[in-house]
Structures are given as C-alpha cells and as structure tokens.
C-alpha cells in the first residue's frame, strides 16, 4: 500500500523534477521579459524614471517616420544582399564537400568550414577592420602592386562583406545537410540520358535541394537582420540598422525605452514571420515529394 503510494508519487514527482527547473528559468527570464517589452512598446516614448504615459500605438507609428523607415529598409536590404551572397558563395562549397570531396574527408572539411561560427563574431569583424581600414592590409597590398587605394571601411560594402563572412558557414552547413541526402542515382540517370551538366544542375540538383536552400536562406536572413556587431564595427555612422537603433534606445543617448521596445517587438515579429514562412513552405515541400 505504502509502496504503491510511493510509486504513484514518484511518477508525479519525476516529470516535475525534470521539466520544472528549466521551464521556470526560461519562463521567468525569457517569456516574461518578452511580454514586458510588449507592454513597454505600447507606452509611447516611455523613458526610465518617468511616470508611464497612457497606452497607445505611438511607438509603432513612430517607426513610419521617414528616418526610421530608412533604417528598417536598410536592415532588410543588408540582410537580403547578405543572404543572396551567402547562397551564391555557399552553394558550390556545400556541393563540393557533399558530392565531390573524398568520403573520409567530408566531416572534417565541413567542420573546418563551420568552426569559425563558434569563434567570436566581434573578433572576426575586428579582423576585417585591420584589413579594410585606409592604411590596412588591403590598401598596402593594392599600393604594392601599383593600384590606387580604396575606402571600403565604414561603408555599406563593408557591412555586407562582414555579414556574409559571419554567416556563410550557416548556409554551407544547412545546404550540406540537404545535398548530402541528394539521390545521386538521379544525377547519374539524368547525365546518362544526355542532359548537359547545367541542365542536370537546374532540373535535378536545385529542385531536390530546395528545402535546404529555403532553410539556409531564412536562417541567414534572420541572423543578419538582427545582427548588431557587424554594422556597428564595420558600418560607421552611415549604416544605422535596427539592432543598432535598439541598442541606442537603451544604452546610447536616446534612452527611449518605449520606442526601443517597439523596435524589438518588430524585430521579433519579423523573425517569427520568417520562421512561420519556412515551416509552411517546408511542409508543402514535404507533401509534394
């Protein structure tokens, strides 16, 4: 009788012991805080230490002011260009590692390519300053071969370059996972039936790896959209992005927590929309196969 009770109690306690601590931690320090900035975003121009204003949509309406629209447009523009660049540069790499590299080297090659992801993006962006600054490695190299110096640092070019550099490994990782599963017999069959390589690529390889292309592109898009370090270090004053604007609302001069919260919610919303899109798109893909 007592044993049965103990057993039953154990059955009840075990899931709580397993799931409660992490659940409470995440709820308290992630979900509740997110709901709090949702509330702050509805307090127009709320500043710390001020009496809270009445609820309203002022923070969201403020986003439509031309200077802020430009910031958002610029962030999206950077993210889109970065995504396209990663796709363009990453596809051949993933393709070569997945389908053409010697079998036993594959894991090591992939690891070698994605390892930089685990190193600090702050430091790797700093490395680009060394290269791109006016008296940096790039210009001294150009000078040595008799070419005029170029000013890239603190322009939009350096931001896109830095973003692509930081997030290319994500693209390669995901494309690799997709290309590795590619049915090679289809490639051979298409080639045997006389399709030239570009046609095999466009009609067999690309359609089969479309889920990977979609997933990789969205991952790169959302991470570059919310990135702070690259535009801050490589972008200079002319490359204000959403993440930098949010940072300034809290730690910079503006201290407009209400507006900063509104911008954060917009960023979270954009990322969620991208993921919802991916899930929907991914599902449809699974059905058609």
């Amino acid at each position: 009788m007592l044993d049965a009770l103990k057993y039953r109690l154990g059955k009840l306690v075990e899931p709580l012991v397993l799931l409660l601590p992490a659940g409470v931690w995440l709820l308290l320090l992630l979900v509740v805080p997110t709901l709090m900035i949702l509330e702050l975003s509805l307090l127009p121009d709320f500043r710390l230490g001020q009496a809270p204003p009445d609820y309203g949509l002022g923070n969201y309406l403020k986003i439509f002011e031309p200077i802020y629209l430009l910031v958002i447009f610029r962030s999206v523009f950077f993210a889109v260009i970065c995504t396209l660049l990663c796709l363009l540069l990453g596809f051949p790499v993933a393709y070569w590692i997945a389908l053409m590299a010697p079998d036993r080297w594959r894991n090591l090659l992939l690891l070698g390519f994605v390892l930089p992801l685990w190193t600090s993006s702050l430091l790797r962006s700093y490395a680009w300053i060394t290269i791109l600054r006016p008296t940096g490695v790039l210009n001294s190299t150009l000078g040595a071969i008799g070419l005029p110096p170029i000013e890239i640092l603190n322009t939009q070019v350096s931001v896109v370059l830095g973003l692509a550099y930081n997030f290319l490994p994500y693209m390669v990782l995901i494309l690799y996972a997709s290309l590795e599963k590619l049915d090679r017999r289809l490639l051979e069959a298409a080639a045997d039936l006389g399709a030239p390589p570009p046609q095999v690529f466009m009609k067999v390889t690309v359609p089969q790896s479309l889920p990977g292309i979609a997933a990789g592109s969205l991952l790169v898009f959302i991470t570059s959209l919310g990135d702070f370090v690259v535009p801050e270090l490589l972008g200079g004053a002319s490359s204000m992005t959403m993440a930098r604007l949010i940072y300034n609302q809290f730690l910079g001069a503006s201290r407009n927590w209400g507006f900063g919260s509104g911008l954060s919610m917009l960023l979270i919303l954009a990322v969620s929309a991208a993921i919802a899109l991916l899930l929907k798109y991914g599902d449809r893909k699974a059905e058609t196969f």
Partner: protein, 270 residues
C-alpha cells in the same frame, strides 16, 4: 554538343578552386590578425620584425585580466547550472507527453531564434522593472537562458537515437528510476552533455550584447572590454588577445564536435 559537357575533371576543378577560395576567405582575416599580433610596430600596416611584446603587455593589463576573470566566472557558473537544467529538460521532453508540451518545446527553442539584441533588451527591462540591481549574477542568469537551449538541443539529438529499452531493462533488473537515470542513461548521454557544455561555454565567453545589457557593479566581460577598445581603432595588443581567444574557442568547439562524433561512432559500433 560535346563542348557543353566538360570532362568531370574540369568540373571538379572549378568547384574545388571556389571551395578553396572560400576556405581562404574564412581563415585569411584571422591569419592576418595573427600575423600582425607578432609585429614589432604598433601600426598594423608595415612589418618591423617579430616580437612577442603585445602578448606580454596583455599579462600586465589589469583591465584585461579582470575582464577575463569576470568572463570565466560567468561562463563556468552558467554552464554548470545549464548542464543540469538542460539535461533534465531534454530527458523530460523525451520521456513525457503532457498538455502544452509543444508550447514548452517552443519556449526551449526561443533563445536560439530571437535575436540577441531583443533578448538583451527584454532581460534589462525585466531586471529594471523588478528593481533587481545589475551584477555578475544577473549576467549569469541571462546566460543560463541560451546555454540551457544549446545543451538541451545537443542532448535531445542524442536521446532520440538512444535505445528505448535501456531504461526498461534497468528497471526490470531492479533499479529505481533515479538509479536508472544516473547509472544507465546519464553515461550514454555524457558525450552529448560534455559537447553541449563546451559549446555553450564558448558562446558565453563570446557573448557581447546580453552581457552589456545585464552587467553592473563594475562587472566587465572580455568581449565588453574589447568592444569598448576597438571602437576607437586598431590596437596591437587586442590583435594578440583576439588570436588567443579565437584559437581557444576554435579548439574547444573542435573538441566538442570530436567528442560528439566519437560518441556516435561508438554507439554505431555496438
């Protein structure tokens, strides 16, 4: 027609060359940094001879050393807490079905999805509205959030490949559920737990944004210190520090992947 289908060897060559170029793209900036960290000259544009003086100057840089200490404290404490909570969560999620499970699971992925800046801002607002003073512990509390998520993901992946009869066999042989967990399941999960810990340690050491928003009371982590210095230009001692940190992160991440790979191989051989 024949000119449209080049020989396989040529095809191999251009993709191979592009891959090689991309590998160079990934590693050359770090190598440039490493090269100039050994430069006698304080300006990273001309080479004036080999020197270790920038590495030596780090040893006497009190601010760097105390920042390193703060970073290590945060990373160690966060990872230890997250290892326990993350592993328990992964085991619980694998074992039980309950109403709201997908919500719970969704919550566990949130730290991987929401941009750092938004998490940082939200945590600051939370701490400020509860009037919790910022300290080393608020940084730890915030780091545990994303460390849990990473460890849980890595452990979950291993759990899905685990023999479901392992637990039952242990129970049939007279082990209590707790014993079964500690003596049978945990050793099986160890490679994943260690791997997850190493990865989240690296992430915690490298985090800039979340620390910047949650640190107070004289706490400055290494990325925060570096960030405040490099905003004003290139510093040769920061070159040296960057090389050490990038190498450290790289080695830990490589070890993490290696341990996980070995664990999977061993299981496949069983």
């Amino acid at each position: 027609m024949s000119q449209t289908s080049p020989s396989p060897k040529i095809r191999l060559q251009w993709q191979f060359i592009l891959t090689l170029a991309m590998f160079a793209f990934m590693y050359v900036p770090v190598l440039v940094l490493a090269f100039f960290s050994f430069n006698e000259s304080p300006f990273s544009s001309d080479w004036q001879g080999f020197s270790l003086k920038w590495y030596e100057s780090l040893r006497n840089d009190g601010r760097i050393l105390s920042a390193l200490q703060d970073s290590l404290s945060v990373a160690f404490i966060s990872v230890i807490i997250s290892a326990v909570l993350g592993t328990l969560m992964a085991v619980g999620l694998a074992r039980y079905n309950f109403p709201g499970k997908s919500l719970y699971q969704g919550m566990s992925y949130l730290p991987l999805i929401i941009p750092d800046i938004a998490i940082a801002v939200a945590t600051l607002v939370f701490l400020a509205s509860l009037a919790i003073p910022l300290s080393l512990w608020t940084v730890v509390a915030a780091h545990v959030v994303f460390c849990i998520a990473y460890i849980a993901v890595v452990v979950s992946t291993r759990l899905t490949g685990l023999n479901p009869f392992l637990q039952e066999a242990a129970l049939d042989l007279g082990a209590t559920p707790t014993q079964a967990l500690i003596k049978v399941i945990l050793p099986e999960l160890m490679p994943a737990i260690i791997s997850g810990c190493l990865l989240s340690f690296v992430l915690s050491m490298d985090d800039l944004l979340i620390s910047s928003f949650t640190a107070g009371g004289g706490v400055t982590t290494l990325p925060m210190e570096i960030f405040s210095r490099v905003r004003t230009g290139v510093k040769p001692d920061i070159n040296a520090l960057s090389v050490i940190l990038i190498l450290g992160s790289g080695i830990l991440a490589f070890a993490a992947e290696f341990i996980r790979y070995q664990g999977d191989q061993r299981r496949m051989n069983q």
